[in-house]
C-alpha cells in the first residue's frame, strides 16, 4: 500500500462522512488519527499516543481560533449594518458584496497604522496589557460544547474555569488604563473594574442556579441535562422554566456588562472619556483589544447558550435532523445579534445608576432565582414547581421594580466619587 492509495482511501472515507453531518467533526478527528497511524506504519514508525493527541489538539485549537476569528469579523460588520438599519442608514456597503469584506479593510487599516506609545507611559505594562487581555479571551471557548461530543476540553469545573479566566480581562483593562498615564484612561479603567466586579456576582450566581439544578459544573453535562421535551412540546431548556428565564435574563445582562457593551459601555463612553482605557492604544494593539473584546463576548454568549438555551439541542422534535453544531451557532448568532439590538435601543447608564442596578436589583434577583430553582427542585418539577417558582420570581421582581426604581429614588443624593 503506497502513499497515494492511502490518501485516496482516506479521501473517500472523508467524503463518506458527509452522510451524517451531525457527527462530521468528531468523525473527522477520528479519521485524522487513523490516517496518521497508517501514515506512520507506511514510514515504519509506530506513532505513539502523545503524538496523535498533540496533532489532534493542534487541529482543534486552530479550528476554534479560526471559527471565533471569523465570528468576530462577521460580527463587526453585521453589528454596524444592524446599527445603521435601526437608524435608517445603509451601513458599510462598499467593500465586497454588501460590504461583507469590510473587516478585511478594517484589518488592513488597523495593521498599517502607527503604533503609538505615549512618552510618559509605563512601557512594559502598556505593552503587556493587550497580551493579558487576549490570552484568556482566546482560552475561553475551549470548554464550550459545540455539538454532540464536540467539546475540546471537558473540564469537570468548566464553569469555574470560565469565570476564573474572565478575571484576566479586568486585570488587562486596569493595566491598560494605568500604564497609559492618561486621566481618561485611568477613569475608564476604574469604571471598567467597578462594573466588572459588581456584575460578576449576579453573573456567577445566575450560572450557579443552573449548576444547582443540573448538579454539575461541566458544560457538556449541563447541555446533556437539557435534552428532551416537557409536556411533549416544550424543550427542556432551562430558559423555558420560570427560574431559568429569570436567571437567563440576569446572565444576559451580566454578559452585556462583562463584555462592556451598551448600555454598559461606560468604560469606553465615547462622549465622556474618549475611549476609556483604549485612549492611548492604536494600530495593532488596539486591534488586539478589539478582537479580545469580541471573542470574549462570543465566548460568554456561548456560555449563555450552553447554560440556558440548550446548547446544541434542537427546539422541536421535527427539527432534530439539523446537526447539533448548526443549532449551537444559530443560537450563538441569535444572542449576539440581540445584543446589537439592545445596543441600538438603550442609552448608556450613568455610573450611579449602573451601580445601583447591580447591587439593588441584579444581586437580589439572582438570589431570588436561586431560591426559585431550589423550590422547583424540591416541588418535583411538575405543575406545582412551575407555579411556585414563578411566584417566587415574579413577586420580588414586581416589588423591586415598583419600589426600588422609581425616578425619584435614583435622582436624589447623587454623588460623584471620582470626578471631584
Amino acid at each position: 500500500m503506497n502513499f497515494l492509495a492511502l490518501l485516496k482511501d482516506t479521501l473517500f472515507q472523508f467524503l463518506g462522512l458527509f452522510k451524517n453531518l451531525d457527527t462530521l467533526p468528531v468523525e473527522f478527528m477520528r479519521l485524522l488519527r487513523e490516517f496518521l497511524v497508517k501514515l506512520g506504519a507506511l514510514c515504519g514508525i509506530a506513532v505513539p499516543q502523545w503524538a496523535l493527541d498533540l496533532v489532534s489538539s493542534l487541529v482543534i485549537i486552530v479550528a476554534i481560533l479560526v471559527t471565533f476569528l471569523i465570528l468576530f469579523a462577521l460580527m463587526s460588520v453585521f453589528e454596524r449594518k444592524l446599527l445603521a438599519r435601526a437608524q435608517n442608514r445603509y451601513g458599510p456597503n462598499r467593500v465586497g458584496p454588501c460590504g461583507i469584506l469590510q473587516p478585511v479593510a478594517d484589518g488592513i487599516k488597523m495593521l498599517t497604522k502607527e503604533d503609538l506609545v505615549p512618552r510618559a507611559a509605563d512601557k512594559v505594562v502598556h505593552y503587556l496589557a493587550p497580551i493579558v487581555m487576549v490570552a484568556p479571551a482566546l482560552m475561553l471557548p475551549v470548554i464550550l460544547p459545540y455539538g454532540r461530543d464536540m467539546v475540546a476540553v471537558d473540564l469537570p469545573v468548566g464553569i469555574l474555569f470560565f469565570f476564573a479566566l474572565s478575571a484576566g480581562a479586568e486585570l488587562a483593562v486596569f493595566m491598560a488604563g494605568w500604564a497609559s498615564n492618561n486621566k481618561y484612561s485611568i477613569l475608564g479603567a476604574m469604571r471598567a473594574i467597578a462594573q466588572m466586579i459588581s456584575y460578576e456576582l449576579p453573573l456567577v450566581t445566575s450560572a450557579l442556579v443552573v449548576a444547582l439544578v443540573a448538579g454539575s459544573l461541566s458544560p457538556a453535562a449541563l447541555v446533556a441535562a437539557q435534552g428532551g421535551y416537557s409536556f411533549g412540546f416544550l424543550p427542556r431548556w432551562f430558559v423555558c422554566t420560570p427560574w431559568g428565564f429569570a436567571a437567563c435574563l440576569l446572565f444576559y445582562i451580566g454578559a452585556l456588562s462583562e463584555s462592556n457593551r451598551c448600555p454598559f459601555d461606560l468604560p469606553e463612553g465615547e462622549s465622556e472619556i474618549i475611549a476609556g482605557h483604549l485612549t492611548e492604544y492604536s494600530g495593532f494593539k488596539y486591534a488586539i483589544f478589539f478582537m479580545a473584546e469580541y471573542v470574549g463576548m462570543f465566548a460568554i454568549n456561548g456560555l449563555l447558550v450552553t447554560l440556558f438555551l440548550g446548547g446544541y439541542q434542537a427546539p422541536f422534535p421535527f427539527l432534530e435532523w439539523i446537526p447539533g453544531w448548526c443549532w449551537f451557532f444559530a443560537k450563538l448568532w441569535a444572542v449576539a445579534l440581540s445584543m446589537v439590538w439592545v445596543r441600538t435601543t438603550l442609552p448608556r447608564f450613568r455610573i450611579d445608576q449602573m451601580m445601583l442596578f447591580a447591587w439593588k436589583f441584579m444581586l437580589p434577583m439572582s438570589f431570588v432565582a436561586l431560591l426559585a430553582a431550589a423550590a422547583w427542585y424540591y416541588a418535583g418539577q411538575g405543575l406545582a414547581g412551575w407555579v411556585l417558582s414563578a411566584l417566587i420570581v415574579v413577586v420580588p421582581y414586581l416589588l423591586l421594580g415598583t419600589f426600588c426604581f422609581t425616578r425619584h429614588h435614583s435622582a436624589t443624593n447623587r454623588r460623584y466619587l471620582y470626578s471631584e
Binding site: 514510514c43 515504519g44 493527541d53 486596569f174 473594574i193
Partner: protein, 190 residues
C-alpha cells in the same frame, strides 16, 4: 534521519517528570520577590498577581483543580483588584517618600528593617531545617491512588463535614462586607 525520528518518538514524552512543577513554583517565588522589592506599588501589585497565578497553576498541577481555579477567581479577580484600587485611592504614599531615600533615612527605621530581615532569616532557617531534616517529610511517598478532588465530592463535603465552618465563613464574609463598606465610607464617625 529515519533512526533519529524513531528515537525521538520513542522518548517518554507523555510522562512528565516530577520536577516539572518547579517551573511555576520558581516563577512564583521570583514574582513574589519582585512584588516585595519593587518600588512602584502598582508594579509590585501586578507581580503579586503573577505570583498568585503561578500558585493557582501549582495547585492545578498537584491535582487540586477546583482550588486552583478558585484561587485564580478570588485572588486575581477580587483581591488583586482591591489592592490596585486601594493603591489608586491612597496616592502619594511610599512612592513619593522613596524619591529621596537619604532625606527619609532614619536610624530607627533602618534598625526596624534590619530586625525584620533578621527575624525573617531566622524563620526561614528554622522552617528549612524542619523540612529537610524531618524524617517524615523525607520519607513521604505519593499514595497509591492518585489524589483527586472531584467537584461533587467537595460540594458534598462542604455541606456535611464542614457545614459549620461554611456557615461561619458565610457570617464572616457578610460581616467583612458590611464592615469594609462602613470603614471605607467617607463621612463615617468612628
Amino acid at each position: 534521519m529515519h533512526d533519529f525520528l524513531q528515537k525521538i518518538v520513542a522518548l517518554p514524552w507523555d510522562q512528565s517528570p516530577q520536577w516539572l512543577f518547579l517551573i511555576p513554583g520558581l516563577l512564583m517565588l521570583l514574582a513574589a520577590s519582585a512584588a516585595v522589592c519593587l518600588r512602584n506599588l502598582i508594579h509590585s501589585a501586578l507581580c503579586l498577581v503573577l505570583s498568585f497565578i503561578c500558585l493557582g497553576v501549582l495547585f492545578m498541577a498537584l491535582g487540586a483543580e477546583f482550588v486552583g481555579f478558585v484561587q485564580l477567581l478570588v485572588y486575581v479577580g477580587a483581591v488583586a483588584m482591591l489592592i490596585l484600587f486601594a493603591i489608586l485611592l491612597t496616592p502619594a504614599g511610599e512612592v513619593a517618600a522613596s524619591n529621596n531615600p537619604l532625606k527619609n533615612f532614619r536610624l530607627s527605621s533602618a534598625l526596624h528593617a534590619a530586625a525584620g530581615a533578621a527575624i525573617t532569616f531566622l524563620v526561614l532557617a528554622g522552617l528549612l531545617t524542619a523540612i529537610f531534616f524531618s524524617p517524615r517529610a523525607a520519607h513521604a511517598v505519593l499514595p497509591a491512588q492518585a489524589a483527586a478532588a472531584p467537584v461533587a465530592l467537595i460540594g458534598e463535603n462542604l455541606l456535611t463535614h464542614t457545614l459549620l465552618p461554611l456557615l461561619g465563613i458565610a457570617v464572616l464574609l457578610t460581616a467583612a462586607l458590611v464592615g469594609a463598606a462602613l470603614l471605607a465610607k467617607e463621612d463615617t464617625s468612628l
